[in-house]
C-alpha cells in the first residue's frame, strides 16, 4: 500500500513531537501522522519555506500545502478530513484575495488576518508544550505517595463536598470503561458524486442554509462525507452556492445563490 517514492533512510516514524526532518532533495518525505493537525503542517511549511508568518503568500502556501497532501504515503482518513478542511479554507482565503470584492464586505480586512492569528496562537501553544514537556519529564522521575499512611481508628465523617460534574464525570468514565469492550462497526454506503450533489442541492433548497460541519460530521462513513465535501467545493466553485464562515475553523454555512447559473442545476 506504500507506493510513494519512499526514501530508504526514512523507514520509521519520527517521534511525535519532533519537527519533521526534511529529506534530501527538496522533498519533505514525512508522513502526515507526525503532524498534530493541519495547523502543525502549515507551521512546518511556513518555517521550511522561510515565510514571514505575518505576510503569508497565500497562493504559494496553498500550493505547498496541497502538494504536501498529495505526497503523503499513508494517511488516516479520520485525520485527512481535517487536513482537507483546512485546504478548503486556504483556497477560500485565496479566492477572497484574488477576486474583486463587492464593496460592502468589510474591505479593510485582510482575509488572512484570522488565519495568521490562529497560527500565532497555535504556535504559542506548541512552544508552551515543549516547555511543559520538560517539566513533565522532571516530575515523572519523582515519586509521590498515592496511599494514605495507616492511621489508628477512624473518626466519624459526616460532611462531604460534592460537585455535580465530579459525579457525572465519574459516571462517564465508568461507562466508558465498560463500553471499551464493545466494538463499533461502521458501515458506509457507496455514494456517487451525482447522487450526493442532488441530495445536497435538495437539502439547500429545502433548508435554505446548512451548517456544513454539522452536515459533514453527520455522515456514516468518511468516504461519504468526503464526497459531500467535494460537492460543496464544486458548488461554491461553480458559484451555485455561497459558503461563509464567521470564524475560521468554526463552521461554514452554505446556501444557494439566488440566481445560480442554470447549467449546473442537477435536476
Amino acid at each position: 500500500m506504500t507506493e510513494g517514492p519512499a526514501l530508504p533512510q526514512d523507514p520509521v516514524e519520527p517521534p511525535m513531537d519532533a519537527v519533521p526532518a526534511a529529506g534530501p532533495s527538496d522533498g519533505y518525505q514525512v508522513r502526515l501522522e507526525i503532524f498534530e493537525g493541519p495547523l502543525d503542517l502549515l507551521l512546518f511549511l511556513i518555517r521550511k519555506k522561510k515565510i514571514d508568518i505575518h505576510d503569508i503568500p497565500i497562493a504559494a502556501i496553498t500550493r505547498h500545502y496541497l502538494e504536501y497532501l498529495g505526497k503523503k504515503e499513508q494517511i488516516n482518513l479520520d485525520r485527512e478530513a481535517e487536513f482537507l478542511f483546512v485546504a478548503a479554507l486556504l483556497i477560500y482565503i485565496k479566492s477572497q484575495m484574488l477576486l474583486p470584492r463587492e464593496t460592502d464586505l468589510a474591505e479593510q480586512d485582510d482575509p488572512r488576518r484570522v488565519l495568521v492569528n490562529r497560527l500565532l496562537e497555535y504556535q504559542k501553544i506548541k512552544a508552551a508544550c515543549s516547555l511543559l514537556r520538560e517539566k513533565e519529564e522532571d516530575q515523572l522521575l519523582q515519586w509521590k505517595r498515592h496511599f494514605l499512611p495507616p492511621l489508628p481508628g477512624e473518626s466519624d465523617l459526616d460532611v462531604v463536598e460534592l460537585s455535580l460534574f465530579e459525579l457525572a464525570e465519574s459516571f462517564f468514565v465508568l461507562m466508558k470503561r465498560r463500553a471499551a469492550d464493545s466494538t463499533r462497526i461502521i458501515r458506509g454506503r457507496d455514494v456517487t458524486i451525482e447522487v450526493k450533489m442532488k441530495e445536497l442541492v435538495g437539502l439547500l433548497r429545502e433548508r435554505r442554509m446548512i451548517d456544513f460541519l454539522e452536515y459533514f460530521t453527520a455522515h456514516e462513513s468518511l468516504e461519504e462525507a468526503l464526497v459531500s465535501f467535494f460537492c460543496v467545493l464544486e458548488l461554491v466553485k461553480t458559484r451555485v452556492a455561497v459558503a461563509v464562515q464567521d470564524e475560521l475553523f468554526q463552521t461554514i454555512r452554505v446556501w444557494l445563490r439566488k440566481d445560480p447559473p442554470r447549467q449546473v442545476a442537477h435536476e
Binding site: E33, N76, D78, R79, W143, R145, F147, P149, P150, L151, S155, D156, L157, D158, V159, V160, E161, L162, S163, L164, F165, E166, L167, A168, S170, F171, F172, V173, L174, M175, K176, R177, R178, A179, R184
Partner: protein, 182 residues
C-alpha cells in the same frame, strides 16, 4: 557506610505501600550484602528517631515503614479530619454515580457495573446519608435496594434527579473513538 545505599532505602520505604521487609530490599538491591542493608536501615531509623523530626521509621507487619511520631497525633488528626471531610474517595464517588444513574439498584448490580465489590463503599455512603435503603427486590435472596437520598440532591444543589446530566450529554462526551487523536 555507603550513604547512597541509605538514601535508596529511604526512597524505597517511603513509596512502599506495605511495610518493606529486609528480604524484599535484598531482592531489589541485588548484589548488596544483607548485613549492609540491615546496617543502613538501622542507621536510617536512628537518624529519624534521634533528630528533631516529625516522622520516623517504624517496624511493623514484617517490615519497615514511615509513620508520624506519636507526639503529633493531635495535629495529624486535625488535618485529616479537615481533608477527609472535603472529599469522597473515588470509589465512593464512582459508586454514588452508579446508584444515581441506575436507581433503584441492588448491591450486586452496583458491583457488576463497577466491576468491583462495593459492599464497603455502600456502607460508607449509607453512613454519610448520601444513599438510602428503600426496600428489597423480589428476586432470589431478596437483596436490599438502594437509592440516592434527599441529602444527595442537596449536596449537588439539585431539585430533582431529572437535573442530573443526561444520557445525551454523556454520550456526547463518550462518543466517537478517535484513536488517531489520542
Amino acid at each position: 557506610m555507603n550513604s547512597r545505599l541509605k538514601e535508596t532505602i529511604e526512597a524505597l520505604i517511603f513509596v512502599s505501600q506495605d511495610p518493606l521487609s529486609l528480604e524484599r530490599m535484598q531482592v531489589l538491591l541485588e548484589g548488596v550484602p544483607g548485613e549492609d542493608i540491615r546496617a543502613a536501615v538501622d542507621e536510617l531509623a536512628g537518624d529519624y528517631s534521634a533528630g528533631d523530626r516529625g516522622i520516623h521509621i517504624v517496624r511493623g507487619g514484617g517490615g519497615y515503614l514511615f509513620a508520624t511520631k506519636p507526639a503529633f497525633d493531635r495535629d495529624v488528626r486535625r488535618l485529616l479530619q479537615i481533608e477527609r471531610k472535603n472529599k469522597l474517595t473515588s470509589a465512593s464517588l464512582e459508586t454514588l454515580a452508579a446508584i444515581a444513574y441506575h436507581q433503584p439498584v441492588t448491591q450486586s448490580e452496583i458491583s457488576a457495573i463497577r466491576g468491583v465489590d462495593s459492599t464497603y463503599t455502600l456502607k460508607t455512603l449509607l453512613e454519610k446519608k448520601l444513599i438510602k435503603i428503600v426496600g428489597r427486590k423480589k428476586a432470589p435472596g431478596n437483596p436490599l435496594v438502594y437509592r440516592t437520598s434527599e441529602q444527595f440532591l442537596l449536596y449537588l444543589g439539585l431539585n430533582s434527579l431529572d437535573e442530573l446530566p443526561s444520557e445525551e450529554e454523556m454520550s456526547r462526551i463518550l462518543q466517537e473513538e478517535k484513536p488517531a487523536d489520542a
